[in-house]
Symmetry: C2
């Protein structure tokens, strides 16, 4: 498979790298990046354990870092890539930030936002299933380790 | 009216104080406190403008501060008081934190979480309408100033 430089797959691979950092630190392995004009302006992984803070999801940290980077709380020209379907909290945050696109990998039936309807901003485009198997595999690896 | 020391009204007055700090700083005037065993362990007001960060809602800052205080990301013995109905993001955060009770003042038809169903944790109790007029009045004051 050739990997186009500015494809969703390319940026999702960067989000997956972040998820692997989380796994290495015994965090639920979810990673996110924010892209503006083809550049990654923020990278983050879930740190709820380390920070003892339920709000420290990869998406939240990435959105905050991206807002710091652009000096604006609105991210209406940005795309948020995240390895797993965002939860209600993170969907809500992306709505407030008016993110242009949300791209996620694997669905999360139980904790994902979609079963509550479309909680994204009305103008936010949504793409799903990008490298979903890779994202899901990291989650399965984490929970298999936990059960040991 | 007598004000019982440990009543919901008492703690909501403290949240309203926080909302007034927000108003004084030209932020949307919403305040929150977190209470554990009758003690206020966190106070916060909305700072989305100052921090240029959509995630800096009063509830989010208060939940993070409370988790720091108790050294645990779960707040299952805590009550979150907030002057206005929380949004989807903040409801989601309180669900992750497994907050014991959420008490809010005025309803927020458009941005409040309730029109999306019950997004709180299944074990979280909800009380509403506490000093609702005071909370709503601060919001009206803010938006009336903005329109000038």
């Amino acid at each position: 498979m050739t990997l186009s430089l500015y494809s969703d797959e390319h940026y999702m691979r960067e989000a997956l790298k972040q998820a692997r950092y989380a796994l290495a630190e015994d965090e639920i392995p979810i990673g996110a990046v924010v892209v503006l004009e083809r550049q990654i302006i923020a990278r983050a992984y879930n740190q709820t354990e380390k920070l003892r803070d339920v709000t420290a999801h990869a998406e939240m940290l990435a959105l905050t870092a991206a807002a710091n980077h652009v000096g604006n709380k609105y991210l209406s020209d940005c795309t948020l890539y995240v390895t797993i379907e965002p939860c209600v909290m993170c969907a809500g945050a992306s709505a407030w930030a008016q993110v242009q696109r949300v791209v996620y990998g694997a669905h999360e039936e139980k904790r994902g936002f979609r079963r509550h309807g479309n909680l994204l901003h009305p103008r936010t485009e949504l793409a799903t299933g990008i490298l979903a198997a890779e994202g899901a595999e990291l989650m399965q690896q984490f929970f298999a380790q936990k059960r040991k």
